[in-house]
């Protein structure tokens, strides 16, 4: 992933490159098989009659017949390209032939509190990436590294790299200051720099933290500047 990050630091701004990182431990290639051959997962029609209303049925219906089964297409394998999502009204107790998708609908976000109680309803919001907007991502408050790493859960790490000599100096200075002070810098979007970061279109919002290191020995003159993303604190419900 190569994303442009518009970053502000001590009054200066620059557009730099935000890179996704490879895993340290590569994912093994998993294969499941029997003596016959490789096993594959499949989605298939199971033959259940979803139109039946168990509360309207009588015991003798199930004794004498099998109304819960519709075996015409049972076992049919469904390839991904055969299926698309559709919405229907669940209260329509219609026969299988008459179960129809609803075409005129809207998406609504329902917000629940920590107890599961509904708090708010609003039209579905589609988030856009805010890393490369007209307003840069601002660096703000500093936190000691020990406090940051023991207070927040970091879900993703990206590395910020330069595009040319000028941006290298810009990023090197940020990494150097953070490394020398053993701090992380909180970063945010928006005019006040207090909005969460959205990395990609329709993505999850995260709080951002900058972590920097300066190389020594054979890495002398090099830097490492990481963007750490968090969506929760390291605490339990009771705290």
């Amino acid at each position: 992933m190569d994303t442009i990050l518009h970053l502000e630091y001590q009054g200066k701004t620059a557009r730099v490159s935000l890179q996704a990182l490879p895993r340290r431990r590569s994912k093994p290639a998993i294969r499941q098989s029997t003596t016959v051959g490789n096993i594959m997962p499949y989605k298939l029609i199971n033959g259940i009659n979803a139109a039946i209303d168990p509360f309207q049925s009588k015991p003798e219906d199930f004794i004498n017949f099998d109304p819960e089964l519709v075996l015409d297409n049972a076992g049919q394998i469904l390839e991904p390209e055969m299926i698309s999502a559709a919405y229907y009204n669940p209260s329509d107790r219609l026969t299988q032939e008459e179960l129809k998708p609803v075409t005129d609908f809207k998406f609504v976000d329902i917000i629940y509190d920590a107890e599961g109680k509904e708090k708010e309803r609003r039209p579905h919001a589609i988030r856009k990436s805010n890393l490369n907007d007209r307003l840069p991502i601002k660096t703000g408050k500093r936190l000691p590294i020990a406090q940051a790493f023991t207070s927040f859960v970091f879900r993703h790490t990206h590395q910020i790299v330069h595009e040319d000599g000028v941006t290298m100096e810009f990023l090197f200075n940020i990494a150097q200051e953070l490394h020398q002070n053993q701090e992380v810098a909180i970063v945010g979007a928006g005019a006040k720099g207090n909005q969460p970061l959205v990395i990609r279109e329709k993505g999850t919002p995260y709080r951002g933290f900058l972590y920097g290191e300066i190389g020594t020995g054979e890495d002398e003159g090099k830097y490492k500047l990481l963007l750490l993303l968090s969506d929760r604190e390291l605490k339990t419900v009771e705290e």
Binding site: Q19, L21, R23, R24, Q32, S33, T34, V36, G37, N38, I39, M40, K43, L44, I48, A50, M82, I83, S84, A85, A86, Y87, Y88, P90, L99, K100, V102, D104, F105, K106, F107, V108, I110, I111, Y112, I145, A146, F149, T150, V153, F154, H156, T157, Q159, P196, R207, Y211, E213, G215, G221, K222, L228, S230, D231, R232, E233, L234, K235, T236, V237
Partner: protein
């Protein structure tokens, strides 16, 4: 709380593992639903021939090339027969002290509170499998002054960069993100 054991410098360390801390228990959650005239709709599957299937009508099965459902299979990792690793609750999980800054490269997927752990504050490398598995998960035990947490996730590889940037180092697959609709309200 479940009993869990660790091994630090050859000595047994007993502790108790709490329930996984879910983000929705801390901050709440949101759900996206489809509505028609304020009536909530249910998602189904539309086939090419116009049939609409409900979720209850679809099942998942693991089939061999002859179409026979399979329960037990031979599992291979990188073309070698894999061995089922024991659950972390059945073994003494090794601990190795590492610098706290290691967490800068560790992406946490889940975390659990750990209680009654009696070792010095710091970060310890370990591994964690809630159940038997072929691929143990990377984990760290973070011991703070007042409590401890077991962090489960994945280490990322970073690199110092100089004037020349080796972009092929960053040629990583973009991971699919879970779509979380809740606006973050941590602060």
């Amino acid at each position: 709380m479940k009993d869990i054991s660790f091994a630090l410098n050859g000595e047994l360390v007993s502790a108790k593992l709490g329930s996984r801390v879910e983000k929705k228990d801390l901050y709440g959650f949101s759900k996206t639903v489809a509505e028609h005239e304020n009536i909530p709709l249910t998602r189904g599957y539309l086939l090419g021939d116009g049939r609409l299937l409900t979720r209850q009508q679809i099942s998942y099965a693991r089939l061999d090339p002859e179409g026979t459902p399979v329960e037990d299979a031979i599992v291979e990792l990188n073309d070698e027969v894999a061995t089922l690793q024991p659950s972390s609750f059945d073994i003494e999980n090794p601990l190795e002290p590492v610098p706290l800054s290691t967490l800068a490269e560790f992406n946490v997927a889940d975390f659990y509170p750990v209680e009654e752990v009696n070792i010095p504050e710091g970060l310890y490398l370990t591994q964690f499998n809630y159940r038997k598995t072929y691929i143990p998960k990377e984990a760290y035990l973070l011991v703070k002054s007042d409590r401890a947490f077991l962090l489960i996730g994945e280490m990322k590889k970073t690199a110092f960069v100089g004037l020349t940037v080796a972009y092929d180092f960053f040629d990583a697959e973009v991971e699919e993100e879970e779509d979380d609709e809740l606006d973050f309200s941590m602060f």
